[in-house]
Subunit: 426 residues, 2 copies
C-alpha cells in the first residue's frame, strides 16, 4: 500500500513514456521500459485526446461535454468493514486522478525487484492519450443499509432521503443481475479502450473488497451536455439530447442538477443523484413502424429533430398548436410532451445515456438499447414522477422495456488531498 502510493506520487506516466515529451528509461528487464518520468502534459486541451481535470467543486463526468464511449460498472462490497472501504476509496481516488490525467497506475512491475511482481497497471492503455476520461462515483442505497437490513459500514443514518428506492414502474421487467450495486463508477472517454482500462484497473484495486456486480459498455453517446456539441442519434434513429440540461445553463444547474446546502445531509452538497436504467429497445419492431408513426410517438421530426410543426431542432416546442384535423401537432401521448418540464412541475434531467448492442438475444434479434443515465438534484421530484408519467402513457413503451435499474448518490467534487466520499465518512 505504501509502496503503491509512493509510486503513484511519482506520477508514472502513460503520455510521458510514449509521447513526444517522453524520455523513457530502459531498465534491465528484457525489452521493458520503466515509466519513471513525470509527464508534463503538453495540453489540458478540450480536444478529444486531452485530459479532463479530475479535481474540482463537482465531480467530472456530469456536465463534462458527453464523451463518445462509456464503461459503467457497479460493485458490491463483499468483504471488510468501514476501514477497508475507506482505504479502498482512497486508493481508487488516487488511481482515478492518475488515469484521468493519462497516466498509468504505478509501474508495470518492479515492486519487489524488476519484473518479479505483477505489473501495477494492466498496460492496455499504454501509448493512448487521456482521451477525456472522466470517472464518476456514486453510492447505492445498499451501501447504507443492505438487503438484509444490515448497516455494514455504520452509514445508515447518513443515507439521504433523496436516495429513494425506485418504485416499481408499469412495465418494469428488471433483471436483478443488472440492477443495484453498492457503488457505481461511470467511466466516459472518447476512446473505449481508455474507459475499459479504467474500470478494469479500479476493479483490480478493489479485488478482495469488492466484486463487479455488472458492467455495461456503451458504444455511442445519446446525449449532448453542452451547446457546443452536435446532438447524436439513438437507435430509433432520432436525435437525442436536444432539450437536455446543458453545462451552459449554469443557473438552472443549481436548481435542477446540483444538490444545494440544506437539501439533505451535508456530504451530498455539490453532488448529484444518478439514475441508471438499462432500456432494451425492440428495434426490429420499431423499424417496421411508419415514419409518421415514429415521429408522432417522439413528437419530433426524424430528419431535423425539430418539434413537429417547427423547422429547426432547437425551436421551442409548441404544445398548443393543432393541425387542420384539430389534433395537437405534438400528440398528447408523445414522448417529448410527457417528459417535458411543463407537464412535470418544472422538473428536468441531465441525460447522459449511451447506445448499446450486447450481442443478440437468442431470437435472431440484436440485444440493443439505451443505457439511460440521468443526473438530478432530487429523484423524488425528477426521475420518479417523470418516469411514472412515461410508464403510464408513453406510446414509446410498445418499443422499449426497462430491464435494469440503479440509483446512486454521487457526492460533490474531490479536492486534491481528499478522496471520493470523504465527507460521507467524516
Amino acid at each position: 500500500m505504501a509502496e503503491r502510493e509512493e509510486q503513484q506520487r511519482k506520477g508514472i506516466s502513460r503520455r510521458g513514456l510514449f509521447g513526444a515529451a517522453g524520455a523513457a528509461v530502459a531498465t534491465g528487464v528484457a525489452g521493458y521500459a520503466a515509466h519513471s518520468v513525470i509527464a508534463t502534459p503538453e495540453s489540458q486541451a478540450s480536444d478529444s485526446s486531452g485530459p479532463v481535470e479530475f479535481h474540482g467543486p463537482h465531480q467530472a463526468g456530469i456536465v463534462t461535454p458527453a464523451q463518445d464511449r462509456l464503461h459503467f460498472a457497479t460493485f458490491d462490497v463483499t468483504a471488510g468493514k468501514r476501514d477497508a472501504l475507506v482505504s479502498l476509496l482512497k486508493e481508487w481516488t488516487a488511481a482515478a486522478a492518475l488515469i484521468t490525467a493519462g497516466r498509468d497506475i504505478g509501474q508495470y512491475g518492479a515492486v519487489n525487484g524488476p519484473g518479479e511482481a505483477p505489473p501495477e497497471d494492466t498496460g492496455e492503455a499504454v501509448g493512448l492519450p487521456p482521451a477525456r476520461l472522466t470517472l464518476t462515483i456514486g453510492f447505492g442505497p445498499s451501501l447504507f443499509v443492505d438487503a438484509k437490513g444490515n448497516d455494514r459500514f455504520g452509514l445508515a443514518d447518513r443515507r439521504p432521503a433523496a436516495l429513494a428506492d425506485l418504485p416499481h414502474f408499469i412495465g418494469d421487467t428488471l433483471d436483478p443481475a443488472r440492477s443495484g450495486g453498492d457503488i457505481a463508477i461511470q467511466a466516459c472517454s472518447d476512446d473505449p479502450q481508455v474507459a475499459v482500462h479504467a474500470i478494469r484497473n479500479l476493479a483490480r484495486i478493489g479485488f478482495g473488497t469488492t466484486a463487479v456486480r455488472y458492467s455495461q459498455l456503451g458504444f455511442g453517446r445519446t446525449s449532448s451536455t453542452s451547446r457546443a456539441q452536435t446532438t447524436p442519434r439513438n437507435l430509433f434513429g432520432f436525435k437525442d439530447g436536444t432539450n437536455n440540461l446543458k453545462l451552459e445553463d449554469t443557473a438552472k444547474l443549481e436548481q435542477q442538477l446540483w444538490v444545494q446546502p440544506g437539501d439533505g445531509p451535508d456530504w451530498m452538497t455539490g453532488g448529484s443523484y444518478l439514475v441508471a436504467r438499462r432500456i432494451r429497445m425492440t428495434i426490429e419492431t420499431w423499424d417496421r413502424t411508419s415514419l409518421s408513426e415514429q415521429e408522432t410517438i417522439v413528437g419530433r421530426g426524424k430528419g431535423t429533430g425539430a418539434p413537429l410543426g417547427k423547422a429547426d431542432e432547437f425551436d421551442p416546442i409548441d404544445f398548443e398548436a393543432k393541425g387542420a384535423d384539430g389534433e395537437y401537432k405534438v400528440a398528447k401521448d408523445s414522448h417529448v410532451r410527457l417528459a417535458h418540464p411543463q407537464f412535470n412541475n418544472g422538473a428536468e434531467l441531465l441525460r447522459r445515456g449511451y447506445n448499446f448492442v450486447d450481442g443478440s438475444d437468442g431470437l435472431g434479434r440484436l440485444n440493443a438499447g439505451l443505457f439511460f443515465l440521468a443526473y438530478q438534484r432530487d429523484p423524488r421530484k425528477q426521475f420518479i414522477p417523470i418516469q411514472q408519467q412515461l410508464s403510464r402513457s408513453d406510446v414509446m413503451n410498445e418499443y422499449i422495456r426497462h430491464v435494469g435499474s440503479g440509483i446512486f448518490a454521487c457526492p460533490g467534487g474531490v479536492q486534491a488531498g481528499s478522496f471520493w466520499g470523504e465527507k460521507l465518512f467524516a
Copy 2:
C-alpha cells in the same frame, strides 16, 4: 423490391444531406428532410472518416488497414430456397455498396406516400461520415450442407475442401450459440455507430429469410494490417499484431492470404478463409502474474513489444539466443515461438481481431477477451495446425479459453454490377 432498387440507384445520401455538399430538400412531412440528392463525396480519403472502396479484386475489410471498431454477426438462413438466398445477396450487396460509401439505404420513408411506410434506413447513422466502413461476407460450412445433412441451396458440391470443419482443439469449451452460422458479415469502421448501423440494416433487409445467430461488438482493434499503423494492445496489455501479415507484403499475400486459381473451386479465387474464435481472457488471473512471467509467456517485452533479448518491436526474433542460465531467451513454450512460421511449416495468418468486454460474468469479473479473426489461404495448412500446436503447448492457455468458433469462405471482391458470391451460384 423494384422500388427499393430504384431508390438505391438514386444514391440516397447520408453525407449529402447533412454534409457541406448537401442541398437538402425539405418535404411536406413535418420536420423531415428527404434524402433526394446524390452525394458527391468530397474525398475518398484514407483518413478515419472517409470511405473505403467497396468494389475491387478482393473484398474490403481484409487487408484494409484495421479499423478501430468491429460489429461482427453471423446469420442463419431460416426460410426460402436458393432464389430467395440469391435475392437477399443481391439486396445486401446493393445496400453494402451504399452504406460503405456513407449513404443511407433508401429513404427514411415515402415509399407509399410521404411518411406512411416504415423508413428504409433506420437512421442512426444520419450525419455520420462513412468512417472507413467495410463489410466483408463469408459463407459457413452449414450453408453448403446443414447439420442434418441437407443440401438446402444446391451448393453441396461447391463446398471448398479448405472450408474444413474445425477439429476439436484441446481446451475448447465452445458455446454453440456463439459458434457457426450460415453466413458471416464483418463490419469494421472507425465509428462503432456506423458499424452497428450497417449490421442492423443488413439484418433488417434479411428479415424473413435470415436470423441473427450471434453478434459481437469489438471496441478496440488488436492488430495492425499495415506498416503505416501503430501496433495496438490487447487486454493482456501487450502489443498485438507486430508480426502480422501486412498489406504491404504483396507477394506474401498471394502465398498466404488470397486463394489462388487452382486452389479449389473457381468461385473462391481471390477470396480468403476467415476463422473467428471468441477467446475469453481471464484477465483477473493474468493481472496477478508477474511481469517477467507474462513476458516469458508471450516471448516479447510488455513495454516495447520487442522480442525478448532485443530492443525494438520490429527486430526479428532470435529463437536460438540463450541467456546466462542456458535457457532460450524466447522460451520453448512461448506464444510467439509456437505461433511463428518457422515452427509451423512457414504458415502465416492475417490477424484482424478485436478486444471485447461483454459485461461481467456473474462471478464478479469482467467478461472480457479477444474476438480473434484471422484470414488465410487455406485453414488446413494455417489456422488448424497452428492452433493445434498452441492448444497443446502454449502456456498462455492457462489464461485464455476458446468459447466461440466459426469458419467462413469469403469469396473474391465484388465488381460493380455483380453481387456477393455471384460466382458461387453461377
